[in-house]
Structure formats: structure tokens, C-alpha cells
């Protein structure tokens, strides 16, 4: 285990993240990069971007609370030190997505009200299921919920958003690319560390499986609300803005309706859950589809 944890040292993190792929960035993107004018000038597109970014801020706030809360529950020093790096990664994500809300025109004094207005209640329930485990200092369930379920979801969502943004919004695309690199590390830690802990505590599996099923349901409900109420695509068609044709999971996103996109994303995340949970010896539980 110590060999595996040495790959997650703070020294490695410093070299690969702040002194690596974040070098030269400012709030996760290149200095001087801005949101596209089209997004800032079209109220429907701007409101959709704000709504999407609010979910990201809320998800990252949950991840910050979970990763910092798990430090004092960790069974070994190596895991504590790794979680220290994850805590700062999550704080950085909170900061850069909050900054994006400001870039989209939300004033500082409007921030919390805006978050309250747009946050999806299903995402709040998703976070509550996880934070309840963290509050109880349940390290194994907390890391599965945080590093496999929450981070696994974020990883796939950010990849989809990155594919959609890379061409039309390089600033946001770059911000997402740095975040995806962080999430990849977090998922890797979860898989590696929890596999061995679950062998020591097989009695935890039923509880973890229930948690995964519950969190998956709230995740799917969040996706459903987000895609079905998203007006961006219709607005882009209305104003004659040509769609991008980025590829994601082998499909051309420019050819899909929001509902089809929701289906592709949900299937991708659930498939990833199944694979990752299988690697740590947990049986994936199919959630009810909202």
C-alpha cells in the first residue's frame, strides 16, 4: 500500500498539478481569455450557462466538504496527506466555477441568492447522502461516495461539457481540462485505496451498494432536470448559430437532442460506475430511472 500511496504524495501533486498543468493559468484558464460574446449577450444562453455553473459550484462545495471531512477519518497518514491535496483541488474548483459565475455577470452580492435560485434539489439530496457518511466518519463509504460516485459523475459530465465547449468556448474548455485532470487522480485514489480496505471490511458492502443506488438515482434526476429544461440548443437553432460537431463516446453531439444527450451521459456514467465498483469488489446496483 505504501508504494501505491507514494504516487499520491504532495510532492508528486505539486510537480504535476500547480507546477504542471496549471502553470501559467489564472482561474484555470489562460490570462486574458474571456467567455464568448454570444454567451454574454444572449440572455437565454447566459441564463443556461449560469444554471449549469451553479450545479458545478454546488457539486464542488460538496466535494470540498467531503474531502476535508474525510481527512480526520482516514486510517493512515498517507491517505490523510493525499486527501489534503484533494481538499485543495476541490477548493480550487469551487473558486474557478464561482469566478465563472462572476464572469457571466453575477455580482458578488448576488452569488448566494443566485445559487439558491438555480440549484437543483436532486443535486442537494445527492450531496446530503454523501455528507451523511462523512459526518459519521465512515471512511470507506465516504471515499466510495466521494471518489467513485461523485468524482466519477463529475469526470464524465466535465468530459461531455469539455467536448461541447472546446471549440465554441476555449476559456471554459481549458478550465474544464484542468478539472478533469484532477478528477482522474481522485478516481484513481478511490479505486486503489478502497479495494484493499473493502477486503478488510466486507461487511460494509451492502451499505455502500445502497448508497450508490441512492446517489445514482439523484444524479439521474439532476441530469433529467438539467437537459430537459435546457433551452440553449433551441436558442442556438433559432438564431442560426451553427452547432459544433464534437465527438463524445463515439457520437456526434451536434446531431443529438438534449434528451438524447442526457441518455448518452447517463449510460456513460452508469457504465463507468459498474466498471469501477466491480474493480473494488462492489456489486453495482441499478437505480430507478426518474
Amino acid at each position: 500500500m505504501s508504494d501505491f500511496l507514494s504516487a499520491y504524495s504532495i510532492q508528486n501533486w505539486l510537480e504535476s498539478c500547480p507546477q504542471g498543468y496549471l502553470e501559467g493559468t489564472e482561474f484555470g484558464h489562460l490570462p486574458g481569455e474571456t467567455e464568448p460574446e454570444l454567451l454574454l449577450e444572449n440572455e437565454i444562453l447566459r441564463q443556461d450557462a449560469i444554471a449549469t455553473t451553479v450545479q458545478m459550484v454546488v457539486g464542488e462545495r460538496c466535494a470540498l466538504a467531503a474531502s476535508s471531512g474525510l481527512i480526520n477519518a482516514a486510517p493512515d497518514e498517507g491517505s490523510r496527506r493525499y486527501l489534503a491535496t484533494q481538499t485543495l483541488d476541490e477548493a480550487r474548483h469551487v473558486e474557478i466555477f464561482t469566478q465563472r459565475l462572476h464572469d457571466l455577470g453575477i455580482r458578488k452580492d448576488q452569488l448566494e441568492d443566485t445559487i439558491g435560485q438555480y440549484v437543483n434539489p436532486n443535486l442537494v439530496r445527492f450531496a446530503e447522502v454523501l455528507l451523511e457518511k462523512v459526518d459519521r466518519k465512515d471512511f470507506v463509504s465516504g471515499v466510495v461516495g466521494q471518489n467513485l460516485v461523485l468524482e466519477g459523475m463529475a469526470f464524465s459530465v466535465f468530459e461531455l461539457m469539455h467536448a461541447l465547449s472546446a471549440e465554441l468556448n476555449p476559456k471554459f474548455g481549458r478550465t474544464l481540462a484542468g478539472t478533469i485532470a484532477d478528477e482522474r487522480r481522485h478516481v484513481g485514489f478511490g479505486e486503489n485505496r478502497i479495494g484493499s480496505l473493502l477486503k478488510q471490511h466486507p461487511e460494509k458492502k451492502p451499505e455502500i451498494e445502497r448508497m450508490q443506488k441512492e446517489m445514482s438515482y439523484f444524479m439521474l434526476a439532476t441530469f433529467a432536470d438539467s437537459f430537459r429544461h435546457n433551452q440553449s440548443q433551441a436558442e442556438m437553432d433559432r438564431i442560426g448559430q451553427e452547432r459544433g460537431h464534437a465527438a463524445y463516446q463515439g457520437v456526434d453531439l451536434g446531431e443529438l437532442s438534449p434528451e438524447q444527450m442526457e441518455g448518452v451521459l447517463a449510460d456513460t456514467v452508469l457504465k463507468e460506475f459498474k466498471t469501477r465498483l466491480g474493480r473494488i469488489g462492489v456489486e453495482y446496483q441499478t437505480p430507478v430511472r426518474p
Partner: protein, 267 residues
Amino acid sequence: MIAVLPVSADTTVPVDIHDLDYDRFLEEVHSFEFWFEAVSGYLTGLTWGHRPGLVDRPRTPEERERLVTVLCNYCVGEAAALEGASGLVAIAPNRLAKVFLATQVVDEGRHLEIFYHRLRDLGVDDPESEVERRASRSLLLFRRRLLELVTSKDWEAAIFAQNVILESLEFAVFASHAKDADPITADLLQGVIRDERRHMGFGENELGRRLAAAPHIRSRLGQTKKELDHLVLDALEETTRLIGLPRDEHERLGRLYLGSVERLGFS
């Protein structure tokens, strides 16, 4: 400190952060970006907290023993700081304080990591059990009390214990030790001291504002100080003896520690 702050979308000019209005100043110094800029200046190129290629000083077995015990107790202090800072993230009253504390969490984790690494350099195979074996009782009691304050969600008392009392103690001891330490230990202590200065600044600023706005907090914090002072001064005495500091230096460090809490009006 001069930081380059974006002024508009397409232009940047150097701005002294102390010229900013107070809210903007806090927004700046409690950000990941500020931490990133600050540590880039002194951590880039270091490996396990020191410049590569430094040559260790020869030491007798007794000197090695003393250094191992000192480093083990630094680990106790840093572990307390890591646990304290991570617990404080949950009870921090706003986003900026949470983000600052997240930077402090990684700083404390880094300190712990480099002290562990230094112990391995000195031939300690299992630093975790060595730290447990050599830990000072006073520091362990301090750590327990700090975590009780965090768990009870007493923001002011916990920040006072962590970012004023503990960080001031560490700052004083590390600065004194670095003056006469071997080149590797001195190098890593210098980096740690720079972090501690930032943490103390946060604690003083946060509590200074709160004390000004709600003076009744003072008596509660005074009680916390009274309760922790003897643990801090005992730990200080034990550590300075192990480092081999003369008596007058020990007294100077005691005064330095007391001076840092006096800045907040506690005598």
C-alpha cells in the same frame, strides 16, 4: 507583496494588494490563486521540501537521537495542524475562509510529508510508529484539545488555538532551529516558516475583525489561551532542550510566542 491582478479583460497592471479595498484584499489573499503565486516563489525546484544536492552534516549518535525526537514532535504538531485545519473547513463561515483553509490543509500535509521524509533520511524505517513513541505529552494534550474545539464548532476558539497559538509556537521554534540546523533541515524549515507566516496572518486578521465587532468573544478566547498556555510552554521547553538551545534563547522564544498572542490583546 506585489501581485499582478487583472484589471480588465485585456490588460493587467501590477497592483500592491495592500492598496486594495478591504473586501477585495480578503478576496485576494484567501484565494487559491494567491496561494499558488506565493508557493511557486519558494517551492519550485525543491524536492521533499529542500533544494536537491544539499549535503547533510555529520552527527554523533546522540545528536541523531535528539534530532529524530525533535522531528517526531514537529510531526505531532503538524498532524494536529492538518487535522485542525481540515476540520475547520467544515465550520468556516464563508467561502473565502474555506478556500484559505483548504490551502492551509495542503500546507500542513506537506509539512508532515517532508518531516516524515527527513526522518526516513535519518534512518527511521517506520516514522508513524516512531512519532507515536516519541511524542511529547504536552503536544498530544494540545492536539486533543484543539480537536475538541473544532468538533464543538467553536470557530473563534479553534482558529485562535490553531492559527494563532499553534502556528506562533511552530513559527518561533522553527525559526530558531533553522539558524543552527544542518543544511537540509534548515532548508525545509525555511519553507515551512513561510507557510506559517501566512497562516498566522489569516488567524490574526480573522480574529482581529471578530474581536473588534464582538468584544465579548475576548473573555472566551482568554480562557482558551489560559488553558493552552502551559501546554505550549511545556512543549517549548522540551523541544528547545532537545534542539540544544541555550536558556536565554528558550526564554526569548517564550516571549516571542506570548508576543504574538499579545498582538490580539491577550496578555
